[in-house]
Symmetry: C2
Subunit: 204 residues, 2 copies
């Protein structure tokens, strides 16, 4: 429905092969040692270049982490969008938004924990990629609200911005990786009860 999170600004020629090598080495190192324990020196050694050369392409370890994180968040956003696009009504879209966001996040936690940890750092430290992801979720909520108001599924009294902000705040603990990791036990209840509560609040 909306665009994917935008990639962070990087340096040097965009299609440069070395950039891909660095990203590839970083994914392996982050997956093996974790994001926080990997240094730019480790990555430089892995690709066989100097640290200074790596800095020609990325201004910091975070910039490398952001590219990896942005790629994964773009994948999750695609999963969410394709789940929603197939839904027959705004009501069903809202239910699917909760389920798809919570499940995609918990899948990442259980099947790619080191990558999840990068997403948790990104959420905690408010990286541009994490903020763009939350912003996309907010836009999807606005689109679903507009659709449901137009079709008569939802009430029209509450200001759109207020309704959207409330729904976003309810959903955020299942979208933001630094919150979701402390929230995994509640997902089965949450994906049923939270959309149900919100739909009651939207009843015309």
């Amino acid at each position: 429905m909306t665009n994917s999170p935008s990639l962070p600004a990087t340096r040097g020629p965009a299609d440069h092969d070395v950039r891909d090598q660095i990203i590839h080495a970083a994914m392996e190192h982050f997956a093996h040692y974790g994001y926080e324990k990997t240094t730019v020196s480790d990555l430089a050694k892995a690709v066989g270049f100097s640290k200074a050369y790596v800095y020609k392409f990325f201004e910091s370890k975070q910039a490398i982490g952001e590219v990896i994180c942005a790629n994964r968040l773009a994948m999750i956003m695609q999963i969410i969008n394709s789940s929603i696009d197939a839904a027959p009504s705004a009501t069903e879209k809202l239910r699917r938004l909760f389920r798809a966001a919570a499940e995609a996040g918990s899948n990442l936690f259980f099947h790619d924990r080191k990558l999840y940890d990068i997403a948790a750092v990104a959420s905690r430290d408010q990286w541009a990629t994490a903020r763009a992801y939350e912003e996309n979720v907010r836009l999807i909520i606005l689109e679903i609200l507009a659709e449901g108001r137009a079709s008569g599924e939802f009430e029209r009294k509450t200001p759109m911005d207020e309704a959207a902000l409330g729904i976003f705040l309810v959903l955020r603990p299942y979208v933001n990786a630094s919150l979701l990791q402390h929230n995994l036990d509640t997902i089965p209840d949450a994906v049923l009860q939270l959309p149900a509560l919100i739909l009651r609040s939207l009843a015309p």
Copy 2:
């Protein structure tokens, strides 16, 4: 409205002076070095007894942490209860529950960070004290719901348990210390928008 979180089981005579000395030393050590970095040996040294003697009173460092945590959560529960008790309607009680819980939690975070960290460990590791605190919040929600249904403020169609669970899941990120610390920025919006959304969902 409801009881305070129950104290965890401890060993030895309940009113024993040494128990208080240990708790006192633990509060100082936890405040200074943090819960995770303090050992039972450190506390034994501080009170001038052997580690074995300390273990006569508490079976673990966690048991000491639980007493301290339970005392603070009981204080927070009192703040919440006195805020709610003064409210003229179930509607207003629900608003105050959100505000009091979120503010008491964030006050602890900003003014007594080391003690907050114990509460975060307690939430993360599901200590009995943290579970009892969440259970108390759940009971308060049920009481407010019952009152609002009896007074005609709230709808009566949704099964009580479902309505209560949904509201609890919305409130939990502002009650659970391991979640709240990643949620502090949203408190000003949350204490307004989340009760407003819930009250729309409860409209008769």
